[in-house]
Symmetry: C2
Subunit: 217 residues, 2 copies
DNA sequence: TCCGTGACTTACATGATTGTAAGTAGGGCG
DNA sequence: CGCCCTACTTACAATCATGTAAGTCACGGA
Protein backbone atom coordinates (compact mmCIF):
# COMPACT_ATOMS: atom_id res chain seq x y z
CA UNK A 1 0.00 0.00 0.00
CA UNK A 2 1.50 3.18 -1.33
CA UNK A 3 3.22 5.86 0.63
CA UNK A 4 2.59 5.44 4.35
CA UNK A 5 0.88 8.60 5.42
CA UNK A 6 2.98 9.91 8.19
CA UNK A 7 0.25 12.52 8.42
CA UNK A 8 -2.58 10.22 9.39
CA UNK A 9 -5.53 12.54 9.39
CA UNK A 10 -5.92 16.05 10.58
CA UNK A 11 -7.96 16.16 13.76
CA UNK A 12 -7.26 12.54 14.62
CA UNK A 13 -4.65 13.37 17.21
CA UNK A 14 -6.77 16.11 18.68
CA UNK A 15 -9.65 13.73 19.18
CA UNK A 16 -7.40 11.09 20.63
CA UNK A 17 -6.05 13.62 23.10
CA UNK A 18 -9.55 14.59 24.11
CA UNK A 19 -10.42 10.95 24.53
CA UNK A 20 -7.42 10.16 26.68
CA UNK A 21 -7.94 13.23 28.83
CA UNK A 22 -11.59 12.39 29.31
CA UNK A 23 -10.72 8.91 30.43
CA UNK A 24 -8.46 10.38 33.08
CA UNK A 25 -11.11 12.86 34.10
CA UNK A 26 -13.63 10.09 34.59
CA UNK A 27 -11.32 7.80 36.42
CA UNK A 28 -9.41 10.12 38.67
CA UNK A 29 -10.81 13.61 38.35
CA UNK A 30 -9.68 16.85 36.78
CA UNK A 31 -6.44 16.87 38.72
CA UNK A 32 -5.35 13.74 36.94
CA UNK A 33 -5.27 15.36 33.53
CA UNK A 34 -1.54 15.79 33.07
CA UNK A 35 -0.14 16.94 29.78
CA UNK A 36 2.71 14.49 29.72
CA UNK A 37 0.55 11.51 30.54
CA UNK A 38 -2.12 12.37 28.07
CA UNK A 39 0.44 13.07 25.38
CA UNK A 40 2.29 9.83 26.08
CA UNK A 41 -0.91 7.81 25.88
CA UNK A 42 -1.67 9.24 22.48
CA UNK A 43 1.90 8.92 21.33
CA UNK A 44 2.79 12.56 20.85
CA UNK A 45 4.97 14.98 22.73
CA UNK A 46 3.34 17.14 25.35
CA UNK A 47 3.78 20.40 23.46
CA UNK A 48 1.58 18.88 20.78
CA UNK A 49 -1.22 18.97 23.30
CA UNK A 50 -0.51 22.60 24.04
CA UNK A 51 -0.47 23.24 20.33
CA UNK A 52 -4.07 22.05 20.10
CA UNK A 53 -5.49 23.46 23.29
CA UNK A 54 -3.32 26.40 24.19
CA UNK A 55 -2.90 25.48 27.81
CA UNK A 56 -3.76 22.80 30.29
CA UNK A 57 -6.73 24.87 31.32
CA UNK A 58 -7.87 24.96 27.72
CA UNK A 59 -7.62 21.21 27.50
CA UNK A 60 -9.61 20.72 30.67
CA UNK A 61 -12.26 23.13 29.46
CA UNK A 62 -12.53 21.33 26.14
CA UNK A 63 -12.73 17.94 27.80
CA UNK A 64 -15.39 19.03 30.25
CA UNK A 65 -17.40 20.66 27.54
CA UNK A 66 -17.30 17.60 25.37
CA UNK A 67 -17.94 15.22 28.22
CA UNK A 68 -20.94 17.16 29.44
CA UNK A 69 -22.26 17.29 25.92
CA UNK A 70 -22.03 13.57 25.28
CA UNK A 71 -23.46 12.88 28.72
CA UNK A 72 -26.46 15.03 27.96
CA UNK A 73 -26.82 13.43 24.55
CA UNK A 74 -26.62 9.92 25.88
CA UNK A 75 -29.07 10.67 28.63
CA UNK A 76 -31.50 12.37 26.31
CA UNK A 77 -31.24 9.48 23.87
CA UNK A 78 -31.83 6.93 26.56
CA UNK A 79 -34.88 8.75 27.85
CA UNK A 80 -36.30 9.44 24.43
CA UNK A 81 -35.69 5.89 23.30
CA UNK A 82 -37.60 4.50 26.23
CA UNK A 83 -40.41 7.01 26.25
CA UNK A 84 -41.37 6.83 22.62
CA UNK A 85 -42.20 3.19 23.00
CA UNK A 86 -45.50 4.44 24.35
CA UNK A 87 -45.80 1.86 27.08
CA UNK A 88 -44.12 2.99 30.22
CA UNK A 89 -41.87 0.32 31.59
CA UNK A 90 -40.26 1.73 34.66
CA UNK A 91 -37.78 -1.06 35.17
CA UNK A 92 -36.54 -0.95 31.58
CA UNK A 93 -36.21 2.81 31.73
CA UNK A 94 -34.21 2.54 34.91
CA UNK A 95 -31.91 0.00 33.36
CA UNK A 96 -31.24 2.22 30.36
CA UNK A 97 -30.58 5.30 32.42
CA UNK A 98 -28.48 3.39 34.87
CA UNK A 99 -26.48 1.90 32.01
CA UNK A 100 -25.76 5.32 30.66
CA UNK A 101 -24.73 6.63 34.05
CA UNK A 102 -22.78 3.61 35.07
CA UNK A 103 -21.26 1.94 32.03
CA UNK A 104 -19.84 4.98 30.38
CA UNK A 105 -18.61 6.34 33.65
CA UNK A 106 -20.94 9.26 33.21
CA UNK A 107 -22.00 9.17 36.83
CA UNK A 108 -18.43 9.36 38.04
CA UNK A 109 -17.80 12.23 35.70
CA UNK A 110 -20.92 13.95 36.90
CA UNK A 111 -19.79 13.50 40.46
CA UNK A 112 -16.30 14.83 39.80
CA UNK A 113 -17.72 17.88 38.14
CA UNK A 114 -20.31 18.44 40.81
CA UNK A 115 -17.68 18.18 43.50
CA UNK A 116 -15.37 20.48 41.60
CA UNK A 117 -18.02 23.15 41.55
CA UNK A 118 -19.16 22.80 37.97
CA UNK A 119 -22.82 22.46 37.18
CA UNK A 120 -23.00 19.92 34.39
CA UNK A 121 -26.77 19.76 34.62
CA UNK A 122 -27.34 23.39 33.76
CA UNK A 123 -28.61 22.89 30.26
CA UNK A 124 -31.86 23.89 28.65
CA UNK A 125 -32.29 20.74 26.62
CA UNK A 126 -31.87 18.64 29.73
CA UNK A 127 -34.34 20.74 31.67
CA UNK A 128 -36.78 20.52 28.80
CA UNK A 129 -36.36 16.77 28.61
CA UNK A 130 -36.99 16.48 32.29
CA UNK A 131 -40.05 18.65 32.12
CA UNK A 132 -41.32 16.51 29.27
CA UNK A 133 -40.98 13.35 31.26
CA UNK A 134 -42.76 14.94 34.18
CA UNK A 135 -45.63 16.08 32.00
CA UNK A 136 -46.11 12.80 30.24
CA UNK A 137 -45.96 10.89 33.47
CA UNK A 138 -48.36 13.19 35.17
CA UNK A 139 -50.83 13.14 32.32
CA UNK A 140 -50.82 9.37 32.50
CA UNK A 141 -51.47 9.47 36.22
CA UNK A 142 -54.27 11.94 35.94
CA UNK A 143 -55.88 9.93 33.17
CA UNK A 144 -55.87 6.83 35.32
CA UNK A 145 -57.19 8.68 38.33
CA UNK A 146 -60.63 9.50 37.05
CA UNK A 147 -63.10 9.80 39.80
CA UNK A 148 -60.51 9.33 42.50
CA UNK A 149 -58.42 12.03 44.11
CA UNK A 150 -55.91 13.38 41.66
CA UNK A 151 -52.23 13.34 42.51
CA UNK A 152 -50.41 16.63 42.73
CA UNK A 153 -47.96 17.59 40.04
CA UNK A 154 -45.33 18.06 42.66
CA UNK A 155 -45.75 14.49 43.72
CA UNK A 156 -45.04 13.30 40.21
CA UNK A 157 -41.99 15.48 39.92
CA UNK A 158 -40.69 14.36 43.27
CA UNK A 159 -41.08 10.79 42.17
CA UNK A 160 -38.95 11.38 39.12
CA UNK A 161 -36.44 13.30 41.15
CA UNK A 162 -36.17 10.40 43.53
CA UNK A 163 -35.46 8.05 40.65
CA UNK A 164 -32.70 10.31 39.45
CA UNK A 165 -31.10 10.69 42.85
CA UNK A 166 -31.30 7.00 43.60
CA UNK A 167 -29.91 5.97 40.24
CA UNK A 168 -27.10 8.48 40.51
CA UNK A 169 -26.37 7.47 44.06
CA UNK A 170 -26.28 3.84 43.11
CA UNK A 171 -23.99 4.50 40.18
CA UNK A 172 -21.32 6.10 42.31
CA UNK A 173 -21.89 4.67 45.76
CA UNK A 174 -23.66 1.45 44.93
CA UNK A 175 -20.90 -1.00 45.58
CA UNK A 176 -19.86 0.46 48.91
CA UNK A 177 -23.40 1.04 50.07
CA UNK A 178 -24.60 -2.42 49.21
CA UNK A 179 -21.67 -3.91 51.04
CA UNK A 180 -22.26 -1.70 54.06
CA UNK A 181 -25.90 -2.71 54.05
CA UNK A 182 -24.91 -6.33 54.13
CA UNK A 183 -25.90 -7.24 50.60
CA UNK A 184 -23.46 -8.99 48.38
CA UNK A 185 -22.39 -6.19 46.08
CA UNK A 186 -23.04 -8.00 42.84
CA UNK A 187 -24.34 -6.48 39.65
CA UNK A 188 -27.32 -8.79 39.92
CA UNK A 189 -28.19 -7.55 43.38
CA UNK A 190 -27.95 -3.99 42.22
CA UNK A 191 -30.23 -4.72 39.31
CA UNK A 192 -32.69 -6.33 41.66
CA UNK A 193 -32.73 -3.20 43.73
CA UNK A 194 -33.50 -1.16 40.66
CA UNK A 195 -36.35 -3.47 39.76
CA UNK A 196 -37.66 -3.19 43.27
CA UNK A 197 -37.42 0.60 43.08
CA UNK A 198 -39.19 0.67 39.74
CA UNK A 199 -41.99 -1.42 41.18
CA UNK A 200 -42.24 0.75 44.27
CA UNK A 201 -42.48 3.91 42.24
CA UNK A 202 -44.86 2.39 39.74
CA UNK A 203 -47.13 1.38 42.57
CA UNK A 204 -46.88 4.83 44.04
CA UNK A 205 -47.76 6.41 40.72
CA UNK A 206 -50.95 4.40 40.38
CA UNK A 207 -52.09 4.67 43.95
CA UNK A 208 -54.56 7.20 45.11
CA UNK A 209 -52.78 9.87 47.08
CA UNK A 210 -53.50 10.16 50.75
CA UNK A 211 -54.94 13.35 52.03
CA UNK A 212 -51.91 15.23 53.24
CA UNK A 213 -52.03 16.02 56.88
CA UNK A 214 -52.14 19.79 56.80
CA UNK A 215 -48.95 21.14 58.18
CA UNK A 216 -49.24 24.48 59.90
CA UNK A 217 -45.89 26.01 60.60
CA UNK B 1 0.19 35.69 82.27
CA UNK B 2 3.78 35.07 83.05
CA UNK B 3 6.28 34.06 80.43
CA UNK B 4 4.65 33.78 77.05
CA UNK B 5 4.74 30.16 76.13
CA UNK B 6 6.33 30.06 72.78
CA UNK B 7 5.63 26.34 73.09
CA UNK B 8 1.83 26.57 73.02
CA UNK B 9 0.80 23.01 73.62
CA UNK B 10 2.11 19.80 72.27
CA UNK B 11 -0.31 18.30 69.81
CA UNK B 12 -2.03 21.58 69.09
CA UNK B 13 -0.24 22.13 65.83
CA UNK B 14 -0.73 18.54 64.79
CA UNK B 15 -4.46 18.83 65.26
CA UNK B 16 -4.58 22.12 63.45
CA UNK B 17 -2.75 20.57 60.52
CA UNK B 18 -5.19 17.68 60.43
CA UNK B 19 -8.04 20.14 60.55
CA UNK B 20 -6.72 22.28 57.73
CA UNK B 21 -5.95 19.28 55.58
CA UNK B 22 -9.40 17.83 56.16
CA UNK B 23 -11.01 21.06 55.12
CA UNK B 24 -9.11 20.90 51.86
CA UNK B 25 -10.01 17.28 51.40
CA UNK B 26 -13.69 18.03 51.81
CA UNK B 27 -13.69 21.06 49.62
CA UNK B 28 -11.46 20.05 46.77
CA UNK B 29 -10.46 16.45 47.18
CA UNK B 30 -7.31 14.61 48.14
CA UNK B 31 -5.28 16.26 45.41
CA UNK B 32 -5.77 19.60 47.08
CA UNK B 33 -3.87 18.63 50.19
CA UNK B 34 -0.59 20.40 49.58
CA UNK B 35 2.00 20.56 52.29
CA UNK B 36 2.87 24.17 51.73
CA UNK B 37 -0.74 25.32 51.75
CA UNK B 38 -1.69 23.34 54.79
CA UNK B 39 1.42 24.48 56.63
CA UNK B 40 0.84 28.09 55.69
CA UNK B 41 -2.74 27.97 56.91
CA UNK B 42 -1.65 26.69 60.27
CA UNK B 43 1.25 29.08 60.44
CA UNK B 44 4.14 26.64 60.38
CA UNK B 45 6.72 25.69 57.80
CA UNK B 46 5.99 22.75 55.56
CA UNK B 47 8.68 20.50 57.02
CA UNK B 48 6.81 20.79 60.30
CA UNK B 49 4.01 18.88 58.65
CA UNK B 50 6.44 16.26 57.47
CA UNK B 51 7.79 16.09 60.98
CA UNK B 52 4.39 15.05 62.28
CA UNK B 53 3.23 12.80 59.49
CA UNK B 54 6.37 11.53 57.83
CA UNK B 55 5.22 12.19 54.31
CA UNK B 56 2.40 13.65 52.36
CA UNK B 57 0.97 10.20 52.02
CA UNK B 58 1.09 9.83 55.77
CA UNK B 59 -0.80 13.06 56.20
CA UNK B 60 -3.45 12.03 53.71
CA UNK B 61 -3.82 8.67 55.42
CA UNK B 62 -4.19 10.31 58.80
CA UNK B 63 -6.71 12.79 57.50
CA UNK B 64 -8.79 10.15 55.78
CA UNK B 65 -8.70 7.93 58.80
CA UNK B 66 -9.81 10.68 61.10
CA UNK B 67 -12.44 11.96 58.70
CA UNK B 68 -13.92 8.53 58.18
CA UNK B 69 -13.93 7.98 61.89
CA UNK B 70 -15.76 11.19 62.73
CA UNK B 71 -18.15 10.57 59.87
CA UNK B 72 -19.00 7.16 61.21
CA UNK B 73 -19.31 8.54 64.72
CA UNK B 74 -21.59 11.36 63.67
CA UNK B 75 -23.71 9.04 61.62
CA UNK B 76 -23.96 6.47 64.36
CA UNK B 77 -24.85 9.17 66.86
CA UNK B 78 -27.51 10.60 64.62
CA UNK B 79 -29.08 7.23 64.03
CA UNK B 80 -28.88 6.16 67.65
CA UNK B 81 -30.23 9.48 68.85
CA UNK B 82 -33.28 9.15 66.64
CA UNK B 83 -33.92 5.51 67.14
CA UNK B 84 -33.81 5.42 70.90
CA UNK B 85 -36.73 7.76 71.07
CA UNK B 86 -38.82 4.69 70.55
CA UNK B 87 -41.30 6.28 68.18
CA UNK B 88 -40.13 6.10 64.63
CA UNK B 89 -40.35 9.46 62.93
CA UNK B 90 -39.03 9.02 59.45
CA UNK B 91 -38.96 12.66 58.55
CA UNK B 92 -37.03 13.65 61.65
CA UNK B 93 -34.58 10.83 61.13
CA UNK B 94 -34.02 11.92 57.57
CA UNK B 95 -33.39 15.47 58.66
CA UNK B 96 -30.81 14.35 61.18
CA UNK B 97 -28.98 12.10 58.78
CA UNK B 98 -29.13 14.64 56.03
CA UNK B 99 -27.77 17.27 58.38
CA UNK B 100 -24.84 15.09 59.22
CA UNK B 101 -24.13 14.35 55.59
CA UNK B 102 -24.70 17.83 54.33
CA UNK B 103 -23.74 20.34 56.99
CA UNK B 104 -20.41 18.90 57.94
CA UNK B 105 -19.51 18.22 54.36
CA UNK B 106 -19.47 14.54 55.17
CA UNK B 107 -21.27 13.66 51.97
CA UNK B 108 -18.73 15.50 49.86
CA UNK B 109 -15.95 13.77 51.70
CA UNK B 110 -17.63 10.44 51.21
CA UNK B 111 -17.98 11.16 47.55
CA UNK B 112 -14.35 12.19 47.14
CA UNK B 113 -13.21 9.04 48.85
CA UNK B 114 -15.55 6.85 46.89
CA UNK B 115 -14.40 8.38 43.64
CA UNK B 116 -10.79 8.06 44.67
CA UNK B 117 -11.22 4.36 45.19
CA UNK B 118 -11.36 4.28 48.95
CA UNK B 119 -14.13 2.47 50.70
CA UNK B 120 -15.05 4.66 53.64
CA UNK B 121 -18.07 2.52 54.42
CA UNK B 122 -16.13 -0.63 55.08
CA UNK B 123 -16.49 -0.68 58.82
CA UNK B 124 -17.94 -3.23 61.14
CA UNK B 125 -19.62 -0.78 63.47
CA UNK B 126 -21.35 0.85 60.55
CA UNK B 127 -22.48 -2.48 59.15
CA UNK B 128 -23.72 -3.49 62.56
CA UNK B 129 -25.57 -0.22 62.95
CA UNK B 130 -27.17 -0.70 59.59
CA UNK B 131 -28.19 -4.24 60.38
CA UNK B 132 -29.68 -3.02 63.64
CA UNK B 133 -31.83 -0.46 61.90
CA UNK B 134 -32.99 -3.05 59.42
CA UNK B 135 -33.94 -5.47 62.16
CA UNK B 136 -35.79 -2.96 64.27
CA UNK B 137 -37.66 -1.64 61.27
CA UNK B 138 -38.54 -5.06 60.06
CA UNK B 139 -39.71 -6.23 63.46
CA UNK B 140 -42.02 -3.24 63.60
CA UNK B 141 -43.41 -4.04 60.19
CA UNK B 142 -43.99 -7.64 60.97
CA UNK B 143 -45.71 -6.77 64.23
CA UNK B 144 -48.08 -4.48 62.40
CA UNK B 145 -48.77 -6.98 59.69
CA UNK B 146 -50.56 -9.58 61.75
CA UNK B 147 -52.98 -11.52 59.72
CA UNK B 148 -51.98 -9.84 56.49
CA UNK B 149 -49.20 -10.88 54.17
CA UNK B 150 -45.86 -10.27 55.77
CA UNK B 151 -43.30 -8.11 54.00
CA UNK B 152 -40.01 -9.67 53.03
CA UNK B 153 -36.88 -8.77 54.90
CA UNK B 154 -35.27 -7.80 51.65
CA UNK B 155 -37.99 -5.29 51.05
CA UNK B 156 -37.25 -3.61 54.36
CA UNK B 157 -33.56 -3.54 53.65
CA UNK B 158 -34.10 -2.16 50.19
CA UNK B 159 -36.22 0.58 51.67
CA UNK B 160 -33.47 1.62 54.00
CA UNK B 161 -30.94 1.41 51.21
CA UNK B 162 -33.08 3.68 49.11
CA UNK B 163 -33.18 6.23 51.91
CA UNK B 164 -29.42 6.17 52.15
CA UNK B 165 -28.86 6.51 48.42
CA UNK B 166 -31.39 9.30 48.06
CA UNK B 167 -30.08 11.23 51.03
CA UNK B 168 -26.52 10.86 49.84
CA UNK B 169 -27.49 11.79 46.32
CA UNK B 170 -29.31 14.84 47.52
CA UNK B 171 -26.42 15.92 49.69
CA UNK B 172 -23.98 16.04 46.80
CA UNK B 173 -26.15 16.55 43.76
CA UNK B 174 -29.21 18.15 45.29
CA UNK B 175 -28.73 21.67 44.16
CA UNK B 176 -27.94 20.84 40.56
CA UNK B 177 -30.59 18.17 40.31
CA UNK B 178 -33.33 20.30 41.75
CA UNK B 179 -32.47 23.07 39.37
CA UNK B 180 -32.39 20.68 36.42
CA UNK B 181 -35.77 19.33 37.48
CA UNK B 182 -37.19 22.81 37.45
CA UNK B 183 -37.57 23.27 41.19
CA UNK B 184 -36.16 26.30 42.84
CA UNK B 185 -33.09 24.92 44.51
CA UNK B 186 -33.83 26.26 47.96
CA UNK B 187 -33.11 24.55 51.23
CA UNK B 188 -36.80 24.61 51.95
CA UNK B 189 -37.63 22.78 48.75
CA UNK B 190 -35.02 20.18 49.49
CA UNK B 191 -36.46 19.68 52.94
CA UNK B 192 -39.88 19.29 51.47
CA UNK B 193 -38.59 16.59 49.20
CA UNK B 194 -37.17 14.75 52.18
CA UNK B 195 -40.49 14.99 53.98
CA UNK B 196 -42.23 13.67 50.94
CA UNK B 197 -39.76 10.82 50.73
CA UNK B 198 -40.18 10.00 54.39
CA UNK B 199 -43.94 9.87 53.91
CA UNK B 200 -43.61 7.71 50.81
CA UNK B 201 -41.41 5.22 52.56
CA UNK B 202 -43.47 5.25 55.74
CA UNK B 203 -46.53 4.44 53.68
CA UNK B 204 -44.67 1.71 51.89
CA UNK B 205 -43.54 0.22 55.16
CA UNK B 206 -47.08 -0.01 56.49
CA UNK B 207 -48.72 -1.23 53.36
CA UNK B 208 -49.39 -4.83 52.64
CA UNK B 209 -46.96 -6.09 50.04
CA UNK B 210 -48.29 -7.06 46.68
CA UNK B 211 -47.80 -10.58 45.53
CA UNK B 212 -44.70 -10.36 43.39
CA UNK B 213 -45.20 -11.38 39.83
CA UNK B 214 -42.99 -14.41 39.51
CA UNK B 215 -40.13 -13.71 37.20
CA UNK B 216 -38.87 -16.64 35.19
CA UNK B 217 -35.58 -15.89 33.45
C1' DT C 1 22.78 21.52 85.99
C1' DC C 2 23.26 18.91 81.93
C1' DC C 3 21.41 16.17 78.48
C1' DG C 4 18.04 14.21 75.55
C1' DT C 5 13.94 14.74 73.04
C1' DG C 6 10.25 16.75 70.59
C1' DA C 7 8.84 20.51 67.84
C1' DC C 8 10.05 23.03 65.10
C1' DT C 9 13.15 26.43 61.48
C1' DT C 10 16.03 27.69 57.29
C1' DA C 11 18.36 26.15 53.35
C1' DC C 12 18.72 23.10 49.91
C1' DA C 13 18.11 19.01 46.52
C1' DT C 14 15.13 16.69 43.29
C1' DG C 15 11.71 15.62 40.25
C1' DA C 16 7.43 16.63 38.14
C1' DT C 17 4.67 19.75 35.35
C1' DT C 18 3.54 23.47 32.61
C1' DG C 19 4.88 26.44 29.30
C1' DT C 20 8.10 28.64 25.50
C1' DA C 21 11.27 28.90 21.53
C1' DA C 22 12.73 27.43 17.49
C1' DG C 23 13.00 24.39 14.03
C1' DT C 24 11.24 20.44 10.64
C1' DA C 25 8.14 18.12 7.39
C1' DG C 26 4.14 17.32 4.62
C1' DG C 27 0.24 19.08 1.81
C1' DG C 28 -2.48 22.29 -0.65
C1' DC C 29 -2.38 26.10 -3.69
C1' DG C 30 -1.28 30.21 -6.65
C1' DC D 1 7.93 25.25 -8.08
C1' DG D 2 7.87 27.96 -4.06
C1' DC D 3 5.17 29.50 -0.21
C1' DC D 4 2.56 29.13 3.77
C1' DC D 5 -0.02 26.82 7.12
C1' DT D 6 -0.75 23.11 10.18
C1' DA D 7 1.00 19.67 12.99
C1' DC D 8 4.06 18.50 15.09
C1' DT D 9 9.39 17.78 17.39
C1' DT D 10 13.46 18.65 20.57
C1' DA D 11 15.49 21.48 23.85
C1' DC D 12 15.04 24.43 27.39
C1' DA D 13 13.14 27.65 31.15
C1' DA D 14 10.32 28.38 35.21
C1' DT D 15 7.68 27.00 38.80
C1' DC D 16 6.04 24.05 42.20
C1' DA D 17 5.84 20.19 45.39
C1' DT D 18 7.88 16.88 48.14
C1' DG D 19 11.42 15.52 50.78
C1' DT D 20 16.18 15.94 53.30
C1' DA D 21 19.86 17.93 56.23
C1' DA D 22 21.22 20.30 59.85
C1' DG D 23 20.63 23.38 63.31
C1' DT D 24 17.84 25.98 67.24
C1' DC D 25 15.25 26.21 71.36
C1' DA D 26 12.32 25.05 75.27
C1' DC D 27 11.16 21.69 78.48
C1' DG D 28 11.52 17.72 81.64
C1' DG D 29 13.95 14.35 83.96
C1' DA D 30 18.36 12.08 86.00
Amino acid sequence: MGARRSRPEPGRARDAILEAAEKRLREAGPGAIRLQDVAAEVGVSHPAVLHHFGSREGLVRAVVERAVHTLQQDLARALAGQLEKGRADGAALFERVFRVLSDEGHARLLAWLLLSGEDPLANDALRAGWAGIAEVTHAMRVAKAKGRRKPSYEDTRFTILLSALALFGQAIAGRATFAAAGFEPTADMERRFREWLAALLARHLEEEPRPSRARQA
